[in-house]
């Protein structure tokens, strides 16, 4: 880069650097606090002379990370595959098979697309209680599948709407029934749309807080984010363990993000532009 262009770019680069710093400083300040000796009250951002890496091991045990990882994974595995499958089937029925009254169903779904969770939380709690689900992960899995439907069907419909009609016609000409047409022709084509939908759903399920807090009374059976509340109230006095534990709780999403970074950005962008 030549000198004049560097000078011209400098203000921009400084601005970007400042913005990047702004996004990571809160996380760095947690790391620095997490490495201080336990029971002390560390101050701000300072690299400790003797980093206590062992704090993370203790926080792992104290915050029950092994159990929470299992619980979160169970919830994600309960929600994402089922929600992806049935929303794809519904979008296929509405868009490709053009089922009667399908448009009405779709319109109702879209109307509830932007509703805040606050409006369903009380009835969902009552419903789970009568169904006897409150003590298990099912209390979160079943509602999350239902709550994901508006966005998921919306997303998959946008995909199917872009598939040329001739394709389905050719399939039925060759004698393929709706099942065969879906599994052999449409699903392979829909793979990118399904992958980004699954990624978005993973993120929102894993990070689910309000619903997990209300619908599962045992913190060890919640999502990792949902369990954070119990952890903070228990360890609010020990800043070091609290920060180490919170970091461990957010670590899985950050790791997944760093691995699938490009796909994440793409999925979020697609989703939001269509949304």
């Amino acid at each position: 880069m030549s000198a004049p262009s560097l000078r011209r770019r400098a203000p921009g680069l400084v601005l970007i650097a400042a913005a990047a710093l702004y996004s990571v400083v809160p996380l760095l300040s947690m790391v620095s606090a997490a490495l201080a000796p336990q029971g002390t009250f560390p101050s701000g951002l300072s690299w400790p002379t003797h980093p206590h890496w062992h704090n993370f091991v203790d926080a792992w045990n104290v915050a029950n990370i092994t159990v929470l990882l299992k619980s979160s994974t169970l919830i994600v595995l309960g929600v994402v595959p089922v929600a992806v499958l049935i929303s794809t089937m519904a979008a296929y029925a509405i868009t490709v098979l053009e089922i009667p009254l399908g448009r009405v169903f779709y319109t109702v779904l879209v109307l509830t697309l932007t509703l805040p969770y606050e409006i369903v939380i009380v009835p969902l709690y009552e419903q789970s209680r009568t169904m006897g689900l409150l003590g298990s992960q099912w209390a979160l899995i079943l509602p999350l599948i239902g709550l994901n439907m508006p966005f998921a069907v919306f997303w998959m419909r946008a995909h199917f709407a872009g598939v040329p009609k001739e394709l389905s016609e050719a399939a039925s000409m060759d004698g393929a029934g709706p099942w065969r047409a879906l599994f052999h022709i449409h699903l392979p084509l829909a793979r990118p749309a399904i992958a980004s939908l699954a990624l978005l759903m993973f993120l929102s399920t894993w990070n689910q807080f309000l619903l997990a807090l209300v619908l599962i009374d045992d913190p060890d059976k919640r999502t990792m984010a949902g369990a954070l509340q119990a952890f903070t109230t228990k360890y609010s006095t020990d800043q070091v363990l609290l920060n180490a534990g919170a970091l461990l709780i957010m670590a899985p999403t950050i790791l997944v993000f760093l691995f699938l970074q490009r796909h994440f950005a793409k999925a979020l962008l697609q989703g939001s532009v269509k949304g």
Binding site: S29, A33, T112, V214, A246, M250, S272
Partner: protein
């Protein structure tokens, strides 16, 4: 001829019937989605509306109270304050991030593809990925007495301004607001950046030939070109501001006093601490109506011509 017509008509009718039956059979594909949606989404919405007209503690009998719960939403200090706070938070969840993102994206446009650009994009995006609840914990620590915010103020000689921000009656809501800014700026930047990438480069060249400087280019080319992306950013972040729960619940729980009370936390408290399910539902219904009232016109405003 005349003898074959009835049978042919019969055959046509039969095949029409068969076709119609086949189209109805397609509902088998939509049925699981419909079932989950009705039981765990649509029905609860209707139930909430129903609850909102009753006084009910969740255990005993419920009494019909008409609009009393709704009256309380607008007269009860805590509930009304929560709605006003939610509106104030739009400034920090929406206005500030979209403005910052417009500037950042315009600058990043020139860095597209470079390593610095890629690194910046990853870092900027990070807050979007972590759970909002964890962001609440991170920022509680940032704002604490010996946290980074006060450390910075002391370092630049403004130590007199240092305070425990989230416990401060005047500043707590603004402090919570900046957490929202932190959370949404990255997503808005990425969205706007993707939008800028789609703008035809010849438009910039034409503007430059007409003698437009960077600011003029921004106003005449970038801004109109980003219309729908700005619309998406505004919509998503306004919903996040109005329906915020996790960040506030984990950083302040609505305190000090009710200084940072938001509708989400108020609904939670009313329902699960005070066992006032009817009142909680009424507030949730009002919140939902506000979301719809804000989002619906926005969709119209930002729709591409």
């Amino acid at each position: 001829m005349s003898s074959t017509r009835p049978t042919r008509e019969g055959a046509a009718a039969r095949s029409r019937r068969r076709l119609r039956a086949r189209r109805w059979a397609g509902w088998l594909f939509a049925l699981p989605a419909l079932a989950f949606y009705s039981v765990f989404n649509f029905r609860p919405v209707l139930m909430s509306i129903q609850y909102s007209f009753y006084d009910w503690d969740g255990v005993g009998a419920s009494t019909w109270v008409g609009l009393k719960n709704y009256q309380a939403v607008f007269t009860d200090h805590e509930q009304l304050a929560s709605l006003l706070h939610a509106c104030y938070l739009i400034l920090f969840f929406t206005v500030l991030p979209v403005t910052l993102a417009l500037i950042t994206a315009s600058v990043l446009r020139q860095l597209q593809g470079r390593f610095t650009g890629a690194l910046a994009r990853t870092l900027l995006f990070l807050p979007q990925i972590i759970p909002g609840a964890a962001a609440g914990v991170a920022w509680t620590w940032m704002y604490s007495d010996n946290g980074v915010v006060n450390q910075l103020l002391r370092a630049i000689g403004l130590g007199s301004l240092a305070r425990p921000w989230l416990a401060d009656f005047t500043w707590s809501l603004t402090a919570v607001g900046f957490i929202g800014t932190w959370l949404s700026t990255g997503l808005c930047t990425m969205l706007l950046l993707a939008g800028i990438g789609k703008i035809d480069n010849s438009l910039y060249e034409a503007a430059r030939i007409d003698g437009a400087g960077p600011i003029r280019q921004f106003l005449t080319v970038t801004l109109p070109g980003l219309r729908s992306e700005i619309g998406v950013c505004v919509t998503i972040t306004i919903i996040a501001a109005l329906a915020s729960f996790d960040v506030v619940y984990l950083s302040t729980q609505g305190g000090p006093g009710t200084q940072t009370m938001v509708p989400g936390v108020a609904v939670y408290n009313l329902a699960f601490n005070d066992s006032r399910l009817g009142a909680a539902s009424a507030l949730a219904v009002v919140l939902t109506l506000i979301v719809i009232a804000v989002v619906a016109p926005l969709q119209r405003l930002f729709r591409e011509k």
